[in-house]
């Protein structure tokens, strides 16, 4: 084994062939792959849209052969609130990043805290929605809508949860003053992931909830 001499101290600047930071290039590549992952889930939802043989249905009422009546299952007002908060969280995280880059710890911690709050609200909204659906008789196995809906929104919700955990760790580091401007890229990468989760929801919201 030969020892490799490192001229560049850990965590400091290093030159790259592209002139761009490799970590940022990596997160963009990951986001690119995620685009195709969600494309498969969205197309799965769209292809199976309106093909459920039994209810409950997303937008129409349904009466089962046994006479049980089911209302349209989607709750637009609650999800609209969740959508608005997720959009605002994107604003909050760029403000946190801006604070981190300027060395403003208060702005970093405050805006990041607001982002995390919005993320937790969104996840809570989804947990409530899923629980409500199961109580109403819609599960992953009920019909094609249930299968494609839970798969699509469930994977998105998982991404949001991962994002919340990531941002929470950065928030704790920020509280301890461990995100100086020179390390703001750590937050920028998490912010890029968070924005991606947001843009995916920008597509899911009209496709699932608004288009009949």
């Amino acid at each position: 084994m030969t020892a490799v001499a490192h001229d560049v101290p850990h965590g400091l600047e290093h030159a790259t062939a592209t002139g761009l930071d490799s970590r940022k290039l990596a997160i963009w590549t990951f986001i690119g792959s995620e685009c195709m992952f969600f494309a498969t889930l969205i197309s799965n939802y769209l292809v199976n849209k309106g093909r459920s043989l039994v209810g409950p249905y997303p937008h129409e009422a349904w009466t089962s052969p046994s006479g049980e009546h089911f209302k349209p299952i989607l709750e637009i007002p609650l999800v609209t609130l969740g959508t608005a908060l997720l959009l605002f969280s994107s604003l909050f995280v760029v403000l946190a990043l801006s604070g981190a880059q300027r060395g403003n710890r208060r702005a970093l911690v405050g805006w990041l805290g607001a982002t995390i709050f919005c993320g937790i609200f969104f996840v809570g909204m989804q947990v409530y929605e899923f629980t409500h659906f199961v109580h109403e008789g819609l599960t992953l196995k009920t019909n094609l809508f249930g299968a494609s809906f839970f798969t699509l929104t469930g994977f998105h919700g998982t991404h949001v949860t991962i994002g919340v955990i990531w941002l929470l760790t950065l928030w704790i580091l920020g509280l301890k003053g461990k995100i100086p401007p020179s390390k703001s890229l750590n937050l920028e990468m998490a912010a890029l992931y968070w924005h991606f989760v947001d843009v995916v929801w920008i597509v899911i919201f009209p496709v699932v909830y608004l288009i009949k």
């Binding site: 761009l20 685009c35 637009i76 880059q101 300027r102 608004l210």
Partner: protein, 119 residues
Amino acid sequence: MEAHATAGGHQEHEHPRAAVYAKVGLILFVLTALEVGLYEITYGEHTGASASAIQPFFVPLLLLLSAAKFALVAMFYMHLKQDSKLFTGIFVFPLTIAVVIIVGLMVLMAYHMWFARAG
């Protein structure tokens, strides 16, 4: 604009100021309100005579609003407007494949359904 030096020591991009972020946030909020408003006008409980006139344009309008929101977040919040074009390429190339997958599968399934119905 705020200059932001990167790991390579380059001026990779300049991030917009907080006021620009807030303006974009406001526009995103308005566009979301328009989406839901459009849904309420077309399919809500208190739809008027205009509902049937809007219905043929409902989906294209909704997709247009959604695309505008997507572009705003990508350009301003994800900084693709200021950052290296390489990042834009890395994002847009798979995004294009994603759109082609969605449209292609929908066309394929629609054709399959039509073919099955035609006998």
